[in-house]
Amino acid sequence: MSLLKPFSKLPGLNTANILPAGKYEGHLTSTWQTTWFKLVESEEQFQQSLADALVEETSVTVNVRLAKSLPLPMENDESRPRIDLVVFIINLTSELSFQSAEASLKYLDPGYFLGKVCFMVTNARNASAPAERLDAVRKLAASLHCPLLFAEDQTPDGVASATERLLTILKVAAGLVPIATALYVSNLTRCTLPLDIDQPSFD
């Protein structure tokens, strides 16, 4: 199985490499009565805007490797630099998005789960995102000891703040922050489950 390994390559000088992975898919929704289908735009645009914003960072050279899911194609193995942080972007309104992220996890070497993986969800406030899905993502992130970030993908401000938070984690994961290591920080940032997560929600 082609696992992505965290330490099998040498790092670059003052460089951090990030792999935002998010399945790009739209889905057709329909209702019984109407005969209209609405094709829903998905998060490739968010992934791209995030990438554009990340590379603007000046204190560190950030390289972004965009992917839809893992495993990554073998042809790129040679040329691929060491990936410091893998971010799974999950659109909460899409079941496929969640399933794709879940399926991609097994292609990561366990070493990544020591602070080099994080989850980012979008559309948490969207009415069509079922609460169970967010709970499922929370449980997944908590069980893997990974941080869970919430991002707002529709406005440039939202993208900017998501970028900032990712950069903070990325710099640590790349070993560019003195004193802090990825494992240490992940203890502080990892997702925790509220005690009442399995209780039925308000609505």
Binding site: L19, E25, S30, W36, V55, A67, P73
Partner: protein, 348 residues
């Protein structure tokens, strides 16, 4: 009493109302039924009502009739073919001399055949610069004069089997079909199941006047095919499959700017299929429904869906039939071409 009867007046009023003031000047100039003094005397900044009155007066002066106003309307429609609904038809089974029918022959034959079939009819034929023959038909019947307020426009490209029409009643259809078939030297005409508001779009689609992409074993280097990467620091891991998808999408729909088709309609007459809904699936009768895709540019949307992975590649024949067959109306049955299960909407 003047030469302009009620119909002529109404037709003129309607035209002045429809044509935007800026375009009115050019249209009137093309019409060439007014003298230059008359044309100069028109103030295009006036209200439409005032313009109508002015034009009515000039038309009376020149003793113009409804036929002349119909000319004006035709000029306007030819200049603006993308208003109103157009329906495509295809001529079938050409006779030996069908491919050498030229303009004069077609004009004479069409007029004479149509006049044989219907006594009161007003026909105007005009050849446009792009090889299209435009026909305006005002229909009357045994007892009444041609109705110029509800004309049918027909566009035919000589030496092709394609004909495009605007509104036609079921009574008029067989008469027009007959006249067309006889004058073009074909044996039959059928509905091409393609319609839209933009004549140029359905014409380009049917006559394949856009960049076709043919399957090739060695497509051009990835670098040219891929979207321009915004930054050297950003790289796509799965660029190969993206390029593949893009190639397949272009093979199905074409490259570059695509004809602006605005809708595609699928009429389903298939059995209901959804394993999560037993009640509906158990029914024997067909589940009739109509699926309509609408967009400002449907073909580009579909191509983008395929190249970005939203629609699976290779492109399903249900979608690729639109450009391939030049149709945008399909009836899908369980025995029909293309697996009908692919059209099942996913209930999410």
């Amino acid at each position: 009493m003047g030469s302009m009867d009620n119909t002529a007046k109404r037709l003129l009023e309607r035209l002045v109302r429809r044509i935007p003031s800026q375009m009115l000047k050019t249209t009137l100039d093309k019409w060439s039924r007014l003298t230059s003094t008359q044309r100069q005397s028109i103030d295009y900044t006036e209200s439409k009502w005032a313009l109508t009155e002015k034009l009515l007066a000039i038309c009376e002066e020149n003793e113009l009739t409804v036929k002349h106003i119909a000319e004006l309307e035709m000029i306007h429609v030819i200049e603006n073919p993308n208003l109103g609904m157009w329906y495509a038809f295809q001529l079938m089974d050409p006779q030996d001399d069908a491919h050498s029918v030229e303009l004069t022959q077609f004009k004479e034959q069409f007029k004479s055949h149509l006049r044989e079939l219907i006594r009161h009819v007003s026909i105007k034929i005009k050849k446009h610069t792009d090889e299209a023959v435009w026909i305006r038909i005002a229909w009357g019947d045994t007892f009444s004069r041609p109705n110029h307020l509800k004309p049918t426009y027909v566009v035919h490209y000589l030496q092709t089997p394609y004909v495009f029409l605007t509104s036609l009643t079921s009574k008029q259809k067989p008469l027009l079909s007959q006249a067309l078939v006889l004058s073009t030297r074909y044996q039959a005409i059928k509905d091409a199941n393609l319609s839209g508001r933009k004549l140029t779009a359905i014409r380009d689609l049917l006559m394949k006047q856009y960049l076709q992409v043919f399957p090739t074993k060695f497509p051009s280097p990835l670098a040219e095919r891929n979207r321009v990467v915004s930054n050297l620091h950003i790289e796509k891991e799965q660029a190969g499959s993206a390029a593949n998808r893009h190639q397949m999408a272009c093979e199905a729909f074409g490259d570059g700017i695509l004809p602006q088709l605005q809708s595609a309609v699928y009429k389903l007459e298939t059995k209901f299929r959804d394993h999560t809904n037993k009640t509906m699936t158990e029914r024997d009768e067909t589940f009739r429904c109509v699926v309509k895709f609408a967009s400002t540019n449907l073909l580009e949307s579909l191509r983008h869906s395929a190249s970005s992975g939203v629609a699976s590649t290779p492109v399903t024949p249900l979608l690729s039939s639109v450009p391939l067959k030049g149709k945008n109306y399909f009836v899908i049955t369980d025995n029909g071409p293309g697996p009908s299960s692919q059209m099942k909407p996913s209930q999410k």
